[in-house]
Symmetry: C2
Subunit: 119 residues, 2 copies
Amino acid sequence: MDDKVNLAEKLALLDGPYRPGIVGYYNDNKVAVATMLGEFTWHSHPDTDDLFLVLDGHLTIQLRDRDVELGPGELFVVPRGVEHCPRADEEAHVLLIEPRGTVNTGDAGGAQTAPEREL
Amino acid sequence: MDDKVNLAEKLALLDGPYRPGIVGYYNDNKVAVATMLGEFTWHSHPDTDDLFLVLDGHLTIQLRDRDVELGPGELFVVPRGVEHCPRADEEAHVLLIEPRGTVNTGDAGGAQTAPEREL
């Protein structure tokens, strides 16, 4: 983790959508990449904001009152405590930043909960 | 700051190299974009890591013992306390994440110190 990270190379190592892999750390945060396809789980993170940067493809971050549509080179920070549900109609490649230990499904849990793991 | 951010649109608002502009916040961190051209200042940040993600162009992050060469879609986290000096032989577009209040020239100060400002 002390060398540069090529995000495309790391994305190629992933084994399925919504199964993020950690590519580095910034202070107490994990920097992760994920592919997204289909709908995730409605959830929130009571203790942290959640940063999404779309690298490739298109991602809809559904909020309870609106949808945020992201294309390549667009980012959105979901404020702490705000319910959201990512959805990608075609595969999207996404960079994520969250504190270490943050569970991908937040307060919702369920079948899409993925373990933290480094790529 | 509660809507999505198009990084290319924000980069177009910058008025010169090494004068970052804040495009959002993630917890206690600022998310900024900067253009880089030429050599910056050798400096370090004693209290924080420093995340660089190259969006376009090429950036050399000079460390005292080696150079880290970054192209588009490549990131590097300079660990806290590590002296570094960015250099771009052609203009590079870069995403930066640092804690709010972090000075761009770190412990070095000098003419390239830029005020924090939002785009």
